[in-house]
Amino acid sequence: MPIPNPIPFQLTKEPIYDHCFSGDRKFVAITKQNTAEIYDLSNNKPKLVTVLEGHDKTITAIDIAPDGKIVTCSQDRNAIVWNKISGTGASATYKSTLVLLRINRAATVARWSPNGLKFAVGSSDRIIAVCYFEPENDWWVSKHIKKPLKSTILSLDWHENNVLLSCGSADGHVRVFSGFIKSVDEKPAPTVWGDRLPFQTLCGDYFLNGSWIHDVKFSTNGEFLAFVSHDSSINILYPSKNGQEISIPDKFYQVKTSFLPFKSLIFINNSKIITAGNDCYPVVFEGNENSGWNFTTSIDDPIAKKQPTKVITNEDDEELNQRDALNMFRQMDLKGSSSQEHSGLLPTIHQNSITKIRPYSYNGQNVAKISTSGNDGKIVIFDV
């Protein structure tokens, strides 16, 4: 069977809020209501291998550290670290460790630092909890970043130096903090964001027009930021060079688009960004500090395509076929026919909003393939 390109996997009928591939790209972990599921995708046929159970409410984010540790966080106000204790593939068993987050409201996002020694959890309790392992107590503990947060944290991204942490929130602020933990981190080299970085130092605080900031990312070289907000714009921000003005960027580009709002973005390299969101397909922006940024092309462009793409479904998921049948009868009932063009399917692969984009593979410094997860329960791997 030829491998289609892009590669779509229909894993569930529930929305996938977040997904993450294992380091070897054989397995993918997804959120599915109160559980997280790990699928083996190595034979191009999804196979459910592990279900991580432990949360009481919807899991909002999942992330895998370079050494394979998994962290999940949930609306039940908890985060859990899952350590693989034995076995591989289908026989792997995980030990769960509850993290002391000390928050009173839902956790919204969790991200490992690039070296995997600590992670940050954002919450609607106006707190970012930076969590690290205390070997004496065999326990994950957290330090809180509180000020000047006054709103739900919607996104987090670590700088490659493992210290700087950017966050976007529902009050329209993009901020850069220091997440320096004495017992874990070495003193970082000075960057454009500042040189003295004790924990909770505010290194940047930018405000645009008050619309929600859905996602924020450091550039590949870590020297500037891009973020997407609910006003259908993508914004690229170069911090002030002297490090003095934390709220006035040196250069700032807002690209207003005619798309629906974007929910996620990643840098392909320092001059190329991919975003996706409520329009169900990824779009590409290119530019640089001097010439500004512009929309260039769409991936999986619905206008160029006519036929809905065939997806690889989970073998034992009968409900999906039931849903197809339900759709067919519904169309026959509404329109008197069930022909393909009235099927109600979008021409894009994703049939609902894309929730997260992640890098899948690299070509040198550039991202070569990306993976996306959607509210339609699909994971798709796109060539860039």
Binding site: R126, K146, L149, K150, S151, D171, G172, F207, L208, N209, G210, S211, W212, S229, H230, D231, S232, S233, K256, T257, S258, F259, L260, P261
Partner: protein, 151 residues
């Protein structure tokens, strides 16, 4: 207990409470007099028949920082321009606007639909809206909803 979703739990966290003012972007204060002068300028541009100049002038620096009365007066000036333009010229005028101007135009169209002044000219406003969105796509609508700078 049945009404627990309506309990205002934010009152228990006074220090982290966010006010409406904090969510608003900074906008330069605008006085009623400035907008009255603008309204005169718009009228004289209209009488010369230069609709595109009048519209661009009116929506280039909208009174984000004005009070309700100021905003209402400026809305009236904008609606005057919109009603003066011939149906057949709407599309070509919208195409000449910058993306920022188009955003502001859509904001005014929504505001007009929600006010007495605009509702008296409902048909014209709707046809402006129809033709504008055909050119601009969904972006300005999303920005009208999410942007806290209001006209």
């Amino acid at each position: 207990m049945e009404d627990w979703r309506r309990i205002d739990i934010d009152v228990y966290y006074p220090e982290s409470r966010i006010s409406e003012e904090e969510l608003k972007p900074y906008a330069k204060p605008v006085s009623l007099e400035e907008i009255q002068i603008k309204a005169q300028q718009i009228r004289s541009l209209l009488s010369k028949g230069s609709f595109i100049d009048a519209l661009a002038y009116a929506i280039d620096e909208p009174p984000f920082g004005g009070d309700a009365q100021t905003k209402e007066l400026h809305l009236k000036s904008v609606v005057d321009i919109l009603t003066a333009v011939k149906q057949s010229e709407i599309s070509s005028i919208v195409k000449q606007l910058t993306i920022d101007q188009q955003d502001i135009l859509v904001k005014y169209l929504y505001k007009a639909m929600g006010s007495k002044i605009g509702q008296q000219q409902g048909g014209i406003i709707l046809s402006w809206f129809d033709k504008t969105v055909e050119i601009t796509g969904n972006g300005p609508i999303v920005r009208y909803i999410s942007d806290r700078n209001t006209v």
